[in-house]
């Protein structure tokens, strides 16, 4: 009965742990490996103008989440200005900077942090806007009909029609219908606008998209224009520059429509500059940022919600259970004897700072010298607690001397000896003395070596990058570790060392 209870409990714990783990891994997109990195783009818009000494209102389009990119953070720097954001259906989001009274040169900033999206969000979700058919008058109407008819003859459906119209416009011969529509020396913007109107004219919803190409360290990015048209139930993209290709991830769609990026009232000499830069960030971080953008409150209440310093502490704390699990296996299944129950795990924590080789060396020196002091104290016939206190002080002195000595010898590693658990070492020295006297030095060394070996093994497991990463990012794995420990708690088979111990009884 008890067994069934235990199995149900461990099964439940493991299921909860694994469930959360897979949810975070597959749905929220937390990375399984620590080294996964991701591009993060920073975009800054600087707006400058001369205010005329009265109320000023400047409205600026803001980028929004697109299919491939997510705005994870944005900020407005504008001393004295009030900021209101407003949604403009079918066009984008607008921020309105306003101030009651301003004169002289003004500078406003808008900054955004942009990342590749983990979950692709199709632009297709946008509602299809009601686009009134474009009005062409007289000659233009005739030219437009010619171009559209020519394109329609070569295309099968709207999906192929739009790129053809763009192609026609781009390859317009001087004096032809297309060039008449475009005017003399058309800009990209003009080309995109005309193309969008023509596609609309052909009966396919279309719009001009204004955006930028995300480039590493670009001071002054030009606005780019391309076209989106609605076909087969989703919005598709045609580029003016390379008409055949879809927009790559590095194109950030900013706003849609013919309006300019910034509209200003109450000021003159409007200038703007857009700069972009790129940095890498850990994929974990970016996954969390995206969740925040998607308002997953769940993440806020995880370890990532903590200040960085506490996070560093928990990175260490979360690996302790892994060391303890290993310790339980080594003690209860393998049957290694150690001094003190959890002493090897604490030693392993200290090894994380010193490294295993120096760690073992320092530990042996400290315990060795401590033992010498302890054997000397034996002659003084001190009572237990004062004797332990004396050993604590001696251990601290030994550690201080070793640190100074190794620093003077140029061993940087020596500086972290201070992290050894002093009280644990004192208890180790005391127990080792007891075992030494009661059972002889052989047994004392055997248990000492056992402790160090287990400590080193714990260190290697606890120091694995993947282990630290997994347990910090997925703390629910602790439940799985707990389940494993509960199961070992009812393990009643032989310990591996017992095979050796009872070998005389292994007769057939």
């Amino acid at each position: 009965m008890k067994r069934v209870h235990l199995y149900v409990l461990t099964g439940l714990l493991a299921a909860i742990g694994c469930g959360f783990f897979s949810y975070k891994l597959f749905v929220l997109g937390f990375p399984l490996k620590p080294e996964a990195r991701i591009d993060v783009w920073r975009v800054e818009v600087q707006v400058q103008f001369e205010a005329g000494g009265g109320p000023v209102k400047a409205s600026l389009f803001l980028p929004r989440r697109t299919g491939n990119l997510v705005i994870v953070d944005q900020s407005f720097v504008s001393p004295g200005y009030g900021i209101v954001t407003e949604q403009q259906p079918g066009r984008g989001m607008r921020a309105v900077y306003s101030i009651h009274d301003a004169s002289g040169p003004q500078t406003l900033y808008y900054r955004a942090v942009i990342q590749p999206a983990r979950m692709r969000d199709e632009v297709a979700r946008d509602p299809v806007p009601e686009v009134p058919p474009p009005q062409f008058g007289g000659v233009e109407r005739a030219a437009a009909e010619t171009v559209v008819r020519a394109a329609q003859q070569q295309s099968a459906d709207p999906a192929t029609l739009a790129p053809l119209i763009v192609k026609w416009l781009k390859e317009a011969r001087p004096g032809g219908e297309a060039s008449h529509l475009l005017g003399r020396q058309p800009t990209n913007h003009r080309l995109a606008t005309v193309a969008a109107r023509l596609i609309q004219f052909a009966g396919v919803p279309a719009r001009v998209v204004n955006g930028i190409a995300l480039a590493p360290e670009r001071r002054d990015t030009h606005l780019l224009h391309w076209i989106e048209y609605f076909a087969d139930g989703r919005w598709r993209t045609v580029h003016i520059v390379e008409a055949a290709r879809e927009a790559p991830a590095e194109y950030l769609a900013w706003w849609r429509g013919d309006e300019p990026l910034i509209e200003l009232s109450g000021g003159q000499q409007l200038k703007h500059a857009i700069s972009t830069s790129r940095s890498y960030e850990l994929a974990t971080r970016t996954a969390i940022d995206q969740q925040r953008a998607l308002e997953k409150k769940l993440i806020e209440f995880s370890l990532f919600g903590l200040p960085l310093q506490s996070q560093a502490l928990f990175r260490t704390l979360m690996v302790i259970p892994v060391g303890i699990l290993l310790l339980v296996v080594l003690r209860n299944i393998v049957g290694i004897k150690t001094f003190g129950t959890f002493m090897p795990v604490l030693i392993a924590l200290a090894f994380r700072q010193t490294g295993p080789v120096w760690g073992v060396a320092f530990l042996c020196i400290v315990v060795g010298l401590g033992l010498a002091v302890r054997f000397y104290l034996e002659r003084l016939k001190l009572l237990l607690v004062p004797r332990l206190a004396a050993v604590v002080i001696m251990v601290i002195l030994i550690i201080a001397m070793l640190t100074v000595l190794s620093f003077k010898l140029g061993l940087e590693r020596g500086l972290s000896i201070g992290l050894f658990p002093i009280v644990i070492m004192t208890m180790t020295i005391e127990r080792m003395t007891m075992v030494w006297e009661e059972r002889g030095p052989g047994e004392a060394f055997q248990q000492g070596l056992g402790s160090i070996a287990v400590g080193v093994m714990c260190y290697f497991v606890m120091n694995l990058q993947i282990v630290e990463h997994l347990f910090f990012v997925f703390p629910e794995l602790l439940l799985v570790a707990l389940a494993a420990i509960l199961l070992i708690g009812r393990y009643s088979g032989y310990r591996i060392t017992e095979f050796y111990r009872f070998r005389v009884l292994a007769r057939t």
Partner: protein, 325 residues
């Protein structure tokens, strides 16, 4: 040999491992509340005295540091005695004084101690360095057993004792533990004492184990350790069977010494008896524990349980001989 094969062989021979002992015998059958009765030897003594079971006479108890100063006066009355911690385990912290040499105490392992050493040792006991979990402790000064002459030839200093494992009132397995030079006079197998298995039916010793090897002679004296008839075997079995009612521990080890003059005395009871007894008997405990588990409902009286142990737990091959005799 590979582990799977060893595992299968040990299982087939019913060898009890430490994990199974803890999980299936100690945890379910030994209620936590009963532990203090056996962990504190002063309580064990009181309990035994109440039940009319013989124990080594208690000369004195040192409970607080202040009493340590009066220790030499207390000891002055006795030529030989034993100092032991009330909560000690595995024989740690026990000093056996066999006699005096001028003002010095002569111990069983041949050392000489002065009053100072003795007081320091008692102080250490009080501070709890030998006790389970490091709690503060008491020091017992008690009668030193003059062990039965039969063991003289097969003991090197120290006091041999008989360890019997008792499961729910049924004596299951027994051995006699013989100190050696290696064990420093202690009757503890993993400190190097010889353990000789005992035929439950007759009380004769079987082969012995010493440091994981099967031996037929005592390593120091060279005398044969097998075939020795343990005196008072009936009493020993009865004492052990009664210990269950005494402590309420379902799975326990009872240590009995055989005194030349006073007969069997209970030295201590143990709620966590070791597993080395299996090696001394060359038999697995689990087989026997399973039998007890199965047959227990039919065993009503103490006499039933003793008779059951004699009948069922004779060594393999010796069973028929035992019952015939």
């Amino acid at each position: 040999m590979n582990w799977f094969r060893l595992n299968a062989l040990l299982n087939a021979n019913g060898v009890l491992g430490i994990n199974r002992r803890n999980a299936e015998y100690m945890l379910p059958h030994n209620p936590r509340a009963c532990y203090p009765l056996v962990d504190d030897k002063t309580l064990t003594k009181q309990l035994a005295a109440k039940a009319g079971v013989a124990v080594p006479e208690l000369y004195g108890v040192i409970e607080i540091q202040q009493q340590v100063g009066a220790l030499p006066q207390l000891l002055a009355k006795y030529r030989d005695f034993v100092v032991k911690p009330a909560r000690g385990s595995q024989g740690d912290g026990i000093i056996v004084v066999t006699g005096r040499s001028r003002a010095l105490y002569r111990t069983a392992d041949g050392n000489l101690l002065d009053d100072h050493d003795m007081c320091f040792h008692v102080s250490n006991i009080l501070a709890g360095i030998y006790s389970l979990g490091g709690q503060s402790d008491k020091a017992l000064i008690e009668y030193r057993v003059n062990f039965d002459a039969i063991f003289e030839k097969i003991t090197y200093r120290g006091v041999p004792d008989v360890r019997i494992i008792v499961f729910r009132g049924v004596p299951v397995m027994a051995m006699v533990r013989l100190p050696t030079r290696l064990s420093g006079g202690k009757a503890n197998l993993h400190q190097g004492a010889v353990g000789a298995g005992i035929d439950m039916a007759t009380g004769r010793t079987l082969d012995a184990v010493w440091r994981n090897e099967i031996v037929a002679e005592h390593p120091d004296t060279g005398n044969p350790v097998s075939g020795v008839q343990i005196p008072h075997w009936d009493t020993l079995l009865e004492l052990s069977a009664r210990s269950y009612e005494l402590t309420g521990l379902g799975y326990q080890g009872i240590d009995i010494v055989l005194d030349r003059d006073k007969g069997p005395l209970i030295l201590e009871l143990n709620a966590r008896p070791g597993l080395a007894i299996q090696m001394a008997n060359q038999a697995g405990l689990r087989t026997r524990l399973d039998i007890v588990q199965r047959e227990l409902p039919g065993l009503r009286t103490l006499a039933d349980r003793v008779a059951f142990a004699r009948e069922r737990f004779a060594p393999a091959g010796g069973t028929t001989l035992g019952t015939l005799a």
